[in-house]
């Protein structure tokens, strides 16, 4: 999976750096991984993404 999503992550990181620097890079990478693993189980991805965002918001403050 690493090889196949590296390209996607790279593209998103370039955009994040320029346009959305406040977004944490690892959060974005984690979302890509969740979506890749959920290609066959679409209902799973939104729940997982929500969870990691909540965790991030909890840590942030």
């Amino acid at each position: 999976m690493t090889d196949e999503t590296d390209d996607l992550k790279g593209t998103l990181e370039n955009i994040r750096e320029q346009e959305y620097p406040d977004l944490p890079a690892d959060l974005v990478e984690h979302i890509v991984e969740i979506e890749y693993d959920s290609l066959e189980d679409r209902a799973r991805a939104p729940k997982e993404i929500n969870k990691i965002v909540e965790e991030y918001l909890g840590e942030d403050g």
């Binding site: 998103l12 370039n14 959305y20 290609l39 066959e40 918001l57």
Partner: protein, 662 residues
């Protein structure tokens, strides 16, 4: 990566009994040599059948499975066939079995309804449920991109579809290519983040309502986000409907192309039938005129006698006219003589008459009275002749024979024309069965219906998108107002909303950027492969369009607008190679008659390039297309196995390992 280990056939096409091909584990090329009509296309079809349950003939027309059963086995009472595909994908072992057989209880099947198809997929030894099987196969090798793995050299028009930007089929293929290039990860993320953003906005509005200062704003925001949520759901449904309709349109478009010849004949028949109806009306009209003319035709028969009689009567009338003049003069004279005798006075010279004169006048008058009777007879005859002439003139009519003949000739000509057209209609009816004609009408009707529905759906989508845009603008205004109000109550919801918005926007941008990046990479790889394959030094590479269609670029920068079937081959192979390089979805390339349109040098270039395109290549060729010695020379260590299709009978081919030489 999909890696086929073996293909096992049982009474499939010309392959009688159970036969199999094993593909080597090591990367490389397997060549199957088979002359024409030995079963190369059926071997390609066996893989298509196993994966998708379809068998295609030349022209990509689908063949009924019943026709695929080996004929000799059928004669021996066996009415079934089976294909087993043994393969590996991402370290999992699969065995896909698809069979076509009579239903339970049917010993002598008559038509398609007497058959049943069974398919099951084992993954690492376990049989998958039907839904899981379908999902798995769709993930491993979606049918829409199968043309980039199962290459039929005779069906190049499939690749030409990609060249047309507006082609619906091209758009469908583009979506399928993007799917295998990994774009769904981003598009799914974008969709999920949009949903999460909506939830966050709703949560924020609810939280705002708990605060007295922001209660009103919160309520308005909740109402707006709710409305927008419904609109988004509606938009989603409309887009799904549109996608289904476009798939259906693309499918009907293909059906219409396949039946184009029949469709033209059906249209021709319809036009001819309308012309025959018109001819019938014309013939009826002329026949009525003929009847009208014939009602008076008897006048023509008596015309000559009437004319002769009239001639005679007119001559008599002319003679009698002179007599009438003389009679009139005599009458006038008699009158004057009478007056003169009565008054013994001449009315002309105004003199009294002497005795002698009076006696002379009396004598003249007597003579005149003597001819009076004759005069009366002459007058009567004159009147009779005049009356007879009048009567005969009424009966006289122009000769209708010419007109009647003209009408009859016209009717004959129209009837001959009608007969020709009816003959043509009969020929067409012999060519096409009524079921085919019904099919053409049904397809045309449905196609028109689908086009209308697509337009209506596109209009509805545009309208809904406008409404969503308006809702978004209003939501943004309200959120801006809310942002001015501080409050711990909804600070967290605000932060959540903001982060989801940024994430959504990031992935939105990511989809566009990645899509362009993928296309650029495919273009670059396809160009590189193309330049390795082509022998034309003035070509600079390939240019890609929205649908992954490729055009050849000359070194002066211009596109090469038209290309030969040979060039199409090379471009299609370049795309296949580029997709294999860039896709997370990779698999074998199976090629049927790939070199038919290529010269020797191009053939060599293609064969040598194949092992670099993908790990597993299966080539189905005839010996004069690619000589065994040439294959060994071009491929060297990359040629892993050879098979040969040996003729046993016209309907029985055996797959034999090795045997590349005659």
């Amino acid at each position: 990566m999909l890696n086929i280990r073996s293909i096992t056939l049982e009474d499939f096409g010309p392959f009688k009994g159970t036969q199999s091909i094993t593909l080597p584990e090591d990367p490389g090329v397997t060549v199957v040599f088979g002359e024409n009509m030995r079963g190369k296309t059926m071997l390609l079809n066996s893989i298509r059948y196993a994966l998708y349950g379809r068998v295609l003939s030349r022209g990509s027309k689908e063949i009924s499975p019943e026709q695929v059963i080996n004929w000799e086995s059928k004669e021996e009472g066996k009415h079934s066939f089976k294909v087993i595909l043994d393969f590996e994908h991402e370290d999992d072992d699969y065995e896909l079995t698809r069979m076509f057989k009579p239903r339970d209880g049917v010993t002598e099947p008559v038509d398609d309804d007497d058959y049943i198809e069974e398919v099951y997929l084992r993954k690492n030894g376990d049989v998958l449920g039907p839904d899981e099987k379908d999902r798995e196969l769709n993930r491993i090798m979606p049918e829409k991109v199968s043309r980039f793995f199962l290459f039929d050299g005779e069906l190049l028009q499939q690749y030409e579809e990609l060249l047309v930007d507006e082609s619906k089929m091209g758009q469908r293929i583009r979506e399928a290519i993007e799917r295998i290039l990994g774009l769904p990860v981003l598009t799914n993320a974008r969709a999920d983040l949009r949903e999460l953003l909506e939830d966050a906005e709703k949560a924020e509005s609810k939280a705002a309502q708990r605060n007295q200062k922001t209660q009103e704003l919160g309520a308005q925001l909740e109402s707006l986000t709710e409305t927008r949520s419904h609109l988004n759901d509606e938009l989603e449904e409309l887009k799904e409907d549109l996608s289904d309709l476009q798939d259906r349109e693309a499918s009907l478009h293909e059906d219409r192309k396949k039946i184009e010849a029949i469709r033209d004949r059906v249209e021709e028949k319809k036009d001819l039938e309308e012309e025959v109806d018109q001819l019938n009306d014309d013939i009826d009209g002329h026949q009525q005129r003929l009847r009208d003319e014939m009602a008076d035709a008897w006048r023509g028969i008596i015309r000559n006698p009437i004319q002769k009689k009239l001639e005679a009567l007119r001559k008599r009338e002319s003679d009698l006219r002179s007599t009438q003049t003389r009679i009139a003069v005599r009458k006038e004279l008699a009158n004057r003589f009478e007056k003169a005798v009565e008054g013994s006075h001449c009315p002309v010279c105004e003199q009294d008459l002497g005795e002698e004169t009076e006696s002379h006048i009396k004598k003249e008058l007597e003579d005149l009275r003597q001819v009076e009777e004759q005069d009366t007879e002459a007058e009567e005859e004159y009147r009779d002749v005049a009356r007879a002439i009048s009567i005969l003139e009424d009966l006289e009519a122009p000769d209708p024979a010419e007109r009647i003949e003209g009408i009859v000739q016209t009717i004959d000509r129209l009837k001959a024309e009608r007969t020709d057209k009816k003959d043509t209609i009969a020929d067409i009816e012999n060519e096409i069965e009524s079921s085919q004609e019904d099919e053409v009408h049904a397809i045309n009707r449905e196609y028109k219906d689908v086009i209308k529905k697509i337009q209506a759906t596109e209009d509805a989508i545009e309208e809904t998108e406008e409404e969503i845009k308006e809702a978004n603008q209003n939501i943004k205004k309200l959120q801006a107002q809310l942002d001015k109000e501080s409050g711990a109550d909804f600070e967290k919801e605000r932060e959540r909303r903001k982060i989801f918005k940024h994430l959504r926007d990031l992935f939105d941008d990511g989809v566009d950027v990645y899509r362009d990046k993928l296309r650029d990479e495919v273009e670059e790889d396809a160009s590189r492969i193309f330049l390795d394959l082509t022998t034309e030094p003035e070509y600079d590479g390939l240019r890609i369009n929205e649908n992954y269609g490729l055009t050849i670029v000359h070194e002066d920068g211009d596109d090469i607008p038209v290309r030969s079937a040979g060039a199409e081959h090379v471009v299609a192979l370049s795309l296949m190679g580029a997709l294999q390089n860039n896709a997370p979805l990779q698999g074998p390339i199976i090629m049927d008659s790939p070199f038919g349109r290529l010269d020797e040098q191009h053939e060599k270039n293609v064969v040598q390039a194949l092992p670099a395109m993908t790990d597993q290549v299966l080539l189905l060729v005839y010996r004069s297309e690619l000589r065994p010695e040439a294959a060994r020379d071009f491929l060297k260590g990359k040629l892993r196995a050879e098979y040969s299709m040996e003729r046993i009978s016209a309907r029985h081919t055996d797959l034999v390992k090795g045997g590349g030489d005659d």
